[in-house]
């Protein structure tokens, strides 16, 4: 193929390439391509992690949701503008106080085992999620203050909550709240995590097999007629077979893609993006991951970070622009808000509002009394050094070269006179101590297409271990705003409430937003109409393979 050894000297090739580039062909595939979708063929998608558990009701893993999206359908779908569209529900009404939602379901939906989809199926699934025996690690929290599901008639359900719960529609659009055939739920209860034919849904693909740590094979569901309104077409998927090939090694995934052995590859490392982009047979798709960006949370309850001036100094004293650009080869953008630009209610006014300012940072530390210097150049106050602890999770949890980024941050702060220790801890020690507020800094990110993540991270009732309030922030204003956002479906009300939260937590320096996680997906140009949902997970229902 196009990678086999060059027969010409590099100079000749370079000349040819230059001529082609000038001619505007750019080495692109000149093969004729069809514009109407072609049915058939099999597509292989290289993924970087193996799901631990395939049951979306149990696992909170992104990869589980991404694979399961093809097998399980949801009540509603959501577009990039956060507008909700019919899917398994044709219409719905929310109670004015948002404590219940009534869904009118499609009548023509059947699971791939022949069972009909109806109100009872909705109830069985939601009840399964919250049942203690399910040990749900994520989906149950998406149901929030779930109080039960009532069957109004065969195709009408009312989902009740014990308090106003605006994030429910978004939650209902994810695969985590996708629907199993009720028969599969009862008959295969102990096999759902393992993956395979036991996972029966109503989606465009059928779960055929899983070979552990190797591949997941899905086949087309020929009876599929109930695609969401956000899809390009309504009938069955075009692909006969969809294979997820698990290749954890970055270079192997990239090699498999560029040698044409896989059609699509997930999580391209930033360092490889330029080379893949230049390849005329490949295409790179980027999308900012919604939700909470990769940030460093400063523990507002632990000295010396109980002094807001010290926290602000740290926030202003890290050269985020340069660090992120250097470590990620310019592929990830730096963050200004604790939520990413692709999240609804993102506040653009925060952008460029708190640039790198080492001078101001130094002044703030002087004001806070950290005026002395010790032999190693670190600041002191009353003889004790300005030192903070930022634990590193075990290697297997470190993604995206965050360890390298951490070194850059440590150096920036050392220049300011702040010592940051970054010990690597075993996971048990890490979580246990982090939950009890023993650390000054913690780095976290959380993907979700809803600004409600702000409640997860900053609401005083969202303390660890259940919530992620790693700043240990106790702020009555923030609490009231996150509550207001969670109690309204009105975009204007939500934008206002969540905008205030974003400003406040940056102003009080409870958080240092670092960079916007970005999904980078490489694909062969043969692959057409491959879509990403707002969570940046691939959607294969519309995808098809060009013959060329």
């Amino acid at each position: 193929m196009h990678r086999v050894g060059p027969a010409f000297p590099p100079v000749v090739l370079a000349l040819v390439a230059a001529v082609l580039a000038l001619a505007g062909c750019g080495g692109g595939s000149a093969a004729p391509s069809s514009s109407t979708p072609i049915s058939g063929g099999s597509l292989t998608y290289a993924i970087d992690t193996a799901p631990t558990c395939f049951d979306p009701h149990v696992s909170g893993q992104d990869i589980t949701a991404e694979i399961d999206r093809n097998v399980f359908d949801s009540l509603v779908s959501v577009d990039a503008k956060a507008q909700f569209h019919p899917w398994l529900a044709t219409s719905w009404e929310a109670a004015p106080d948002l404590t219940s939602y009534t869904f009118h379901l499609r009548h023509d939906v059947t699971f791939t085992d022949g069972e009909p989809f109806d109100a009872a199926a909705v109830k069985a699934n939601f009840d399964h999620i919250v049942a203690p025996a399910t040990k749900s690690r994520y989906a149950a929290s998406l149901l929030g203050p779930y109080a039960g599901t009532e069957l109004l008639d065969q195709y009408t359900v009312k989902v009740d909550f014990s308090r106003p719960f605006a994030p429910f529609l978004q939650a209902a659009s994810t695969a985590y709240l996708g629907f199993y055939s009720p028969k599969a739920l009862t008959a295969n209860a102990d096999k759902l995590c393992a993956g395979g034919p036991a996972n029966v849904g109503s989606g465009p693909f059928i779960f055929k097999s899983y070979t552990k740590n190797q591949s997941v094979v899905l086949t087309r569901n020929p009876a599929y007629r109930w695609a969401p309104e956000t899809a390009r077409h309504d009938g069955p998927a075009y692909l006969d077979t969809l294979t997820f090939r698990i290749l954890p090694e970055d270079s192997v995934r990239v090699g498999a893609l560029s040698s044409g052995q896989v059609d699509v590859a997930r999580a391209l490392p930033p360092v490889n993006v330029p080379a893949v982009s230049k390849d005329g047979d490949l295409r790179v798709t980027r999308a900012a991951v919604p939700g909470s960006v990769y940030s460093i949370y400063l523990n507002t309850g632990l000295a010396p970070f109980d002094d807001p001036r010290v926290r602000s100094a740290v926030q202003l004293g890290i050269n985020i622009d340069q660090d992120v650009k250097t470590v990620y080869f310019g592929q990830y953008q730096r963050a200004w808000s604790p939520i990413s630009p692709s999240t609804p209610a993102y506040d653009t006014s925060l952008e460029k509002s708190w640039p790198y300012n080492p001078k101001r940072a130094g002044e703030l530390l002087d004001e806070a009394g950290w005026t002395g210097r010790d032999g190693q150049g670190f600041r002191t106050r009353n003889g004790s050094r300005l030192t903070v602890v930022w634990p590193a999770p075990p290697r297997e949890y470190v993604r995206e070269q965050r360890d390298v980024l951490a070194q850059a941050i440590q150096q920036d702060l050392a220049k300011l006179g702040v010592e940051v220790t970054h010990p690597s801890l075993a996971i048990g020690e890490y979580t246990t101590q982090a939950y009890s507020g023993k650390f000054h800094m913690l780095d976290l990110a959380w993907a979700r297409f809803d600004p409600d993540v702000l409640r997860l991270f900053f609401d005083s009732a969202s303390g660890p271990p259940t919530g992620q309030n790693a700043s240990f922030l106790r702020d009555a204003d923030v609490d009231s705003w996150t509550a207001a956002g969670a109690a309204s479906l009105d975009p204007a009300v939500r934008a206002d409430a969540y905008g205030k939260v974003q400003h406040k937590v940056v102003d009080v320096a409870a958080v240092v937003p670092m960079y916007v996680e970005t999904a980078i997906i490489g694909s062969s140009r043969r692959v057409r109409d491959l879509a990403l949902d707002p969570n940046t997970w691939t959607l294969f229902h519309d995808a098809w393979l060009d013959r060329a």
Partner: protein, 404 residues
């Protein structure tokens, strides 16, 4: 286990250097069973190092040797009576040896199980948090459910007792993360890993034998070149080697696929990656052994009978060289099992290696403990087999051991 192997190495080299007692026996044994001239038979020269494998299976050989031994024995008991008495003693001794074997095997397994349990129990932090990882919104109710289901709320001693009790009944428990029986997970993973390990082993044996036979005692530059290659193979991390092989033979020249991981073609690169460091060690050991054997007098005798240099190497000297190889079985097994972890991860293969890697990362204790116990079992079985193989390969050990 290492000390045991080290001790055996000492024994082996002791026998290779031919004790006088075995020297006397080997020649007549070869002579009595001389069914045909030439092939595989030691010349009746009395140079005990010549091995006579055709001198067959233990009991007959022992009897035969016993009879021949008669004249030199002190005391004049009738040979037949002595044979019966000795037979009974052999049976008793054999039973005792078997009992000791089984007991020590159980002790090793218990030790492995205990160490695995202790290592995981002593990990810092709350086991539920460890299991859930840092990114979770699991509610307190879910945490309690997990704690109760997996018995984390019970005292450590009770957990240990429960674990051993289950283990004794052959129950390996259920994976915390995958929510499947560990035995089912192992059953699905064993064959792919065995395939990989066996392919690598076959490859390693073939290539290292070829290298050793062709380079032992030959020109110094050839030897040096082989040594250089061997040291390189040993020092390159398998992880990196795998990526290198893939880049060259799968991505650049698309000979071996990485995407479709089924079929024998997809097994080649992983097996090669696993085999190369082993080849590096094996061929050194084999060459060393060959060169030592080639200095033995029987080689001259064999050459005098008209055998070619290569025939002497392949048929006679290689057997001597193979003995230290048997001793390396433990090391070899460790390498094949341990090496499977990075290889399975790089090539995205199913198997015990990738299973245990994920289990260690996710704090999936039942899986980790099961793999540890399984590995101990493999080692115990193999070391027993090795002891048997010694006697088969080197008949001189039969008299030394008396019984297996």
């Amino acid at each position: 286990m290492t000390p045991a192997f080290a001790r055996r190495t000492g024994d082996t080299s002791g026998t290779i250097s031919a004790e006088p007692g075995t020297t006397d026996l080997a020649a007549p044994a070869g002579a009595t069973s001389a069914a045909g001239p030439g092939r595989e038979q030691a010349p009746p020269s009395g140079t005990g190092a010549a091995v006579a494998p055709d001198a067959a299976v233990a009991p007959d050989a022992a009897d035969g040797l016993d009879g021949l031994d008669g004249p030199t024995a002190i005391g004049g008991a009738p040979a037949a009576g002595r044979g019966r008495g000795r037979g009974r003693r052999i049976v008793v001794a054999a039973l005792r040896a078997v009992a000791i074997r089984v007991a020590s095997a159980l002790a090793v397994m218990l030790g492995a199980a205990t160490v695995a349990f202790a290592a995981l129990a002593l990990l810092p932090g709350d086991p539920v948090s460890r299991l859930l990882g840092p990114m979770t919104t699991a509610s307190p109710a879910v945490r309690e459910q997990i704690r109760e289901d997996y018995g984390f709320d019970r005292p450590l001693v009770a957990q240990y007792g429960h674990y051993l009790g289950q283990l004794a009944r052959g129950r390996l428990g259920e994976s915390y993360q995958l929510q499947q029986p560990v035995s089912a997970l192992l059953r699905d993973s064993l064959w792919p890993t065995a395939q990989l390990a066996l392919a690598a082993l076959a490859f390693a044996l073939l290539v290292s034998t070829a290298i050793a036979v062709s380079t032992a005692g030959r020109r110094p530059w050839l030897r040096a070149a082989a040594s250089l290659g061997e040291f390189t193979a040993v020092s390159v991390p398998p992880f990196w080697l795998g990526i290198l092989l893939l880049t060259l033979l799968s991505f650049r020249f698309q000979i071996f696929p990485v995407a479709g991981a089924n079929g024998s073609l997809a097994l080649v690169l992983p097996a090669l990656t696993l085999a190369l460091p082993i080849i590096g060690v094996l061929s050194q050991v084999l060459r060393e052994g060959l060169e030592r054997a080639l200095r033995e007098p029987f080689v001259v005798t064999a050459r005098a009978r008209g055998l070619s240099q290569t025939a002497v190497r392949a048929r006679h000297a290689l057997r001597h060289a193979a003995l230290p190889l048997v001793t390396l079985t433990g090391w070899l097994t460790g390498n094949l099992l341990g090496g499977a972890v990075p290889v399975e991860s790089v090539f995205g293969r199913p198997g015990v290696g990738s299973l245990v890697l994920a289990a260690v990362q996710d704090g999936d204790m039942p899986v980790v403990m099961a793999v540890v116990v399984l590995s101990a079992l493999v080692f115990v079985v193999l070391s027993t087999v090795v002891d048997l193989v010694y006697v088969v390969v080197d008949p001189r050990l039969r008299t030394a051991a008396g019984v297996v």
